[in-house]
Amino acid sequence: MRVSVDPDRCCSSGQCVAAVPEVFDQSEDDGVVLLVLPLPPAELRSAVRTAAAICPGRAISVQES
């Protein structure tokens, strides 16, 4: 699985950070998404899919390999 984020679409809801803090973080200044782990290990993938599904800005893309 490869994750990518689009900071321009991010509206800083923080839901991705709440869902998978190992993979996503937020900028201290404006809360915009920071991608920590673009290639998440198997045990985090289901949570990453949830984060992508609930992102209000549809800023998270998940490419399943």
């Binding site: 509206c11 923080g14 869902a19 803090p21 809360g31 599904a53 209000p56």
Partner: protein, 398 residues
């Protein structure tokens, strides 16, 4: 002979049915159709969108504007039209104007920063609970706990003196009532704006490290812009969480099985709060938009200049997303709910709301094992006339 239900059968606001926690039956029946027509107080009509997928589609699509200055914008009441008329806050703007203001505040509501408030919020929750239980039952959980907790927290974050709470709570209640007249809303808004502009004036002279002072220190905002942003945060910051706290308590008291599950396993609290947000969906009028370009939703063409009401409460009971949607289940994964809206306008303060609700409900359940209603359930009065649903009072004993 059978009668055919006319297309324009739904009138806003539709009455609630037998269950005080369920959306009005007319909205729930609308889930059977992709979109419906709904008639508003001023005789105008809008599209009613009820399904989860369609609500997310509208809220995530820039062809649907939140800017009430656009022709055809649907107002849910006379007061709501008045509220949007002058110095609108950024919830009634589109990007990039909206994003400019919002990004000035997002740093204050990132998960990590909100999490640092946990000990302070816990202390506030414990304090109000101590005070409530220092006298003999019954107590009104709304006035003594559910309202003061988030009110004090948002005052602390903004730098607003909490001792003025009666002043702004009364006026924010007027702003959010469906039957408030334009005149009542204008007066309440003007008084609140004047109060916040005067406060900003004082903060400019004598700054602290709270949000109002920091907005002023940027140097690129006028006093009235700062007042408009503070007004939004102040009203949104306590009405919603206060009503969620009280209504959640009532829903749990009326569902002893779910309450017992939560009591037995406090680690369920985070998920339980998401489920309560879904199940109760207190923003009962939903969210409103106007099409600024022609768009298709659920197979229906919506023309530019037509209004849309996204019913969050029915989207949160859409059986294609949530199994047994009319059941409260504190163990389910309810995170796909749209109780905070969806798209670029999704609630800015949601991490704070979650923190407050988790702490308030967990503490209430843990500290008051004998918590119960102090009146028959039929006597409880609901806020059917307000933008944010809840209970007027919640008399409890323990």
């Amino acid at each position: 002979m059978t009668t055919v239900e006319p297309i324009d059968a739904i009138t806003f606001p539709a009455p609630r049915g037998g269950c005080p926690f369920a959306p009005p039956p007319a909205y729930q029946e609308a889930l059977e159709r992709p979109v419906s027509r709904i008639s508003l107080w001023d005789g105008s009509h809008a599209w009613l969108v009820t399904r989860h997928e369609d609500v997310r589609a509208v809220m995530g699509d820039r062809r649907f504007s939140a800017d009430a200055r656009n022709a055809g914008f649907p107002f849910l009441s006379e007061g709501r039209r008045e509220l949007a008329a002058e110095s609108p806050s950024f919830i009634r703007m589109d990007d990039p104007e909206h994003a400019r203001y919002r990004r000035m505040l997002t740093g204050d509501f990132i998960i990590k920063r909100v999490e640092t408030l946990r000990p302070e919020v816990q202390r506030i929750v414990d304090d109000f609970l101590d005070r409530m239980t220092s006298h003999h039952p019954p107590a009104d959980l709304v006035a003594e706990f559910a309202l003061p907790v988030p009110s004090l927290v948002i005052c602390m974050l903004l730098g607003v003196p909490y001792q003025d709470h009666d002043f702004f709570q009364e006026r924010s209640r007027i702003l959010l009532r469906n039957h408030s007249t334009a005149e009542q809303v204008r007066r309440a808004r003007d008084e609140l704006s004047a109060y916040l502009e005067e406060l900003a004036e004082r903060k400019a002279q004598d700054p602290d490290d709270r949000i109002i002072s920091r907005l002023l220190a940027r140097g690129d905002l006028t006093r009235s812009e700062v007042a408009a942003m503070s007004l939004l945060l102040l009203v949104a910051g306590h009405e919603t969480t206060a009503n969620m706290t009280a209504l959640s308590t009532l829903a749990l008291l009326r569902d002893p099985v779910q309450l017992a599950r939560l009591r037995k396993d406090p680690t369920l609290i985070k998920g339980a709060v998401e489920e309560l947000l879904r199940f109760l969906s207190i923003v009962q009028g939903g969210t409103v938009r106007v099409a600024v370009e022609t768009a298709e939703i659920g197979g229906t063409t919506i023309a530019a200049g037509e209004g849309v009401i996204c019913m969050l409460s029915t989207a949160n009971r859409d059986g294609s997303v949530f199994a047994s949607p009319d059941e409260l289940d504190v163990g389910r994964d309810a995170r796909r709910h749209v109780a905070f809206g969806f798209g670029v306008h999704q609630c800015l303060g949601q991490p704070l709301a979650r923190l407050e609700l988790q702490i308030a409900l967990e503490t209430l359940i843990r500290r008051l094992p004998g918590l119960r209603l102090a009146v028959p359930a039929e006597q409880i009065r609901y806020r059917t006339d307000a933008a944010v649903y809840g209970v007027e009072e919640l008399p409890v004993a323990w």
